[in-house]
């Protein structure tokens, strides 16, 4: 009895701790005052209108979404074959590759950002947008590999052999029997990668340049000069969007088992 009530209390505290800030932001985004306050006074949807109509946010939002989608696509294209190789074959240096591939998860974003900055920006190899795309792809790649690999490991290996014995080439066997069965895992990884890329600050901070603005960076710099609830309104929109995506994909695919 004691243990149950204690764990219940802890769980409630954790939930408050996790959800509390969102609630605060959500409520304050409706306030009529010119500065962010909690609890807010009055009620208005004006901040939402303002945020939606501001070019600064619109443009950077567009770029962030495009980068997030492209980075997730590239990471999937690289990640799915890597995950396949890691789950199906034993090769020299497999452990090293595994460790290497998880590095972007472990290495702090600041360090990764700085390293990428040195490599790409200093060497002036690519345009800023390309550099951002490469940086984001690297950051999200491990998630593609890890989630796809989990999905692959839950799939018996002999269904591929069955397909081959029925006349399929190895490649065909993969596309006809493996891919359809790890589809859910791939979509789950895509959603996770999208969210991670979209929210990423350090990489974008380091790799961004004149005229190129990613949404989180724009939000940060906006907050330095203005303290009105429009940022809260924007955050509320983003939280609802993310929440919507996760709920929808969970309902349709049950993706959380891969995360």
């Amino acid at each position: 009895m004691d243990r149950i009530s204690i764990s219940t209390i802890i769980m409630v505290l954790v939930l408050i701790f996790l959800i509390g800030p969102f609630v605060v932001i959500f409520i304050s985004s409706f306030g009529t005052q010119e500065f962010l306050s909690f609890p807010p006074q009055g009620f208005t949807l004006g901040w939402f209108k303002k945020v939606i109509s501001m070019d600064m946010f619109k443009e950077s939002m567009k770029l962030s979404v495009i980068i997030a989608i492209l980075a997730s696509i590239f990471a999937s294209v690289l990640g799915i074959p890597s995950a396949y190789a890691l789950s199906r074959y034993d090769f020299m240096g497999k452990r090293i590759v595994e460790t290497f591939l998880t590095l972007p998860v472990i290495v702090p974003g600041m360090v990764a950002g700085l390293t990428l900055l040195r490599i790409f920006v200093m060497m002036n190899l690519f345009s800023i947008k390309t550099t951002l795309l490469i940086g984001h792809t690297i950051i999200v790649l491990p998630y593609s590999i890890r989630i796809t690999r989990t999905a692959l490991e839950n799939l018996p290996t002999d269904i591929e052999e069955a397909a081959i014995s029925l006349g399929a080439s190895k490649l065909k066997a993969f596309f006809l029997t493996v891919l359809p069965n790890i589809k859910t895992g791939i979509i789950a990884s895509f959603i996770l990668m999208f969210i991670i890329s979209f929210n990423n600050v350090p990489i974008s901070l380091f790799l961004t340049g004149p005229g190129v603005n990613m949404l989180p960076i724009v939000m940060m710099s906006y907050m330095e000069y203005y303290y009105d609830p429009s940022i809260a309104a924007l955050s509320t929109l983003l939280i609802l969007l993310t929440f919507g995506i996760v709920i929808l994909s969970q309902k349709l695919l049950g993706i959380t088992r891969y995360m």
Binding site: P156, D158, I159, E161, A162, A163, I164, S165, L166, G167, A168, S169, K170, K172, A173, L176, T177, P180, N181
Partner: protein, 353 residues
Amino acid sequence: MAFLELRKITVGYDKKTNVLENFSLSVEEGEFISLLGASGSGKTTTLRTIAGFLPIRSGELIIRGKIYNNIPPNKRNIGIVFQNYALFPHLNVFENVAFGLKLRRMDKVEIEKKVKEALELVGLVGFEGRLPSQLSGGQQQRVAIARAIVIEPDLLLMDEPLSNLDAKLRVEMRSELRRLQKELGITTVYVTHDQAEAIALSDKIALLNDGKIEHFGTPEEVYNNPKTLYCAKFMGFQEFLKGKVVDFEGGYVVVDHEGRKFLARTSEDLTIGENVVLLARRKNFKPAKKETRNTLEGRIISRIFQGDTVLYMVDIGYMEILNVEMELEMGMLKEGQSITVCVEPKDCIAFKI
């Protein structure tokens, strides 16, 4: 020339060790062959070699007189039934069975006709729209068989296809498999560790041990006249005595054990003075009445009632505990009771040690 021939084949998984070495086997057209053996004996390796999933290091794999060594597995036209069925989870029964036909670019009408025939053959008409997860183990098994035979393979390979089924279904499926194979006349190689299954199904059994064939023969031969000691033990004979060959008598060998004489048959060339071990099946021990030869005395240490028979564990003060299975008609004997059993010479085999 045999339909399927493995000539001195050597294969292995890692670089250092060969699982099969100079392995030879030949199968006639239409035959049902079982590869029987314990785990690690190389039976599945043999199957995978025939299927083309393992590269052949040396030797030749010949089907219909053609060397298959370098033909990729997807071009071999071999049907395979896997141990855990390996059905495609995202496809329904119809699509699973039609998979190989679609790859062969057959037209739709013909595919439908062939799938229907195959499902009729395994008794699964009406299940076309179901997913594998909505089928019982036995039904999944049938789909796997239909999928393998619908492509009209030159050869059918089965890897312990019944081992995931419950005991009752396994016996039912046995006769079904046998019927199917005879009906279609497909040359079949069947892998199993279950000797009863191999005996019931096969035209011939290859008993494997440590990558080598110990005995290749008809079920009757392998069951009654195992060639080697390993074979005999695998086929259910138990060792009960060691002794010396002292004489030959009417086709039997006479073995002396501490002054007592035992008669046994043998498939080996034995000479007088050689040390041998005697084996017999547990059900061939009978209570001794007047016999003077081939008798053993012991004490019952425990018993298991099995319905029609009783299994006694008898301590004969030598080697392992003797298992004796007796008909119930003489009533149950008690634990601790002394017993004298005998075994007829024809049920007793001697092997060199």
